[in-house]
Symmetry: C2
């Protein structure tokens, strides 16, 4: 499971992790963990983040059928 949160945050006038967290009701540590793919967020959190950026959930978070094992971060990380 990869995501574009960090990229979208940069595109949104360099919004900070703390600011993003504040807007979606999460701490900056949680934002950092999600960006790094340390765990997959709840569906509710995914919706809140996607909505903030005006995207669909599947545009922000990318999922692959058999891909639960690794801990990638951004989609450009995939080899």
């Amino acid at each position: 499971m990869t995501n574009e949160v960090r990229l979208l945050r940069f595109l949104a006038q360099d919004m900070t992790q703390a600011e993003l967290g504040r807007r979606v009701g999460l701490t900056r540590q949680t934002i950092a963990a999600i960006e790094q793919g340390r765990y997959s967020p709840s569906l509710d959190v995914a919706f809140r983040i996607a909505h903030l950026f005006g995207k669909r959930v599947d545009e922000v978070f990318h999922w692959q059928p058999g891909g639960d094992q690794g801990t990638q971060t951004t989609s450009s990380d995939i080899s």
Copy 2:
């Protein structure tokens, strides 16, 4: 947060809760809880379920900006 899981399950040749659970790697109790909206699943589970039905996550799970409080079940439940 509402969802169409139960409906999609019926449309899929009356697939049973247990069978759906088996296919996405969840127990039938968890499927029942998700259908009833007792909690919002993890994003990973949402992707697995949506993928099984050939839908996008936002086509299966419906989210409303301010709507975290209630515990609706299906979208036809909304007043």
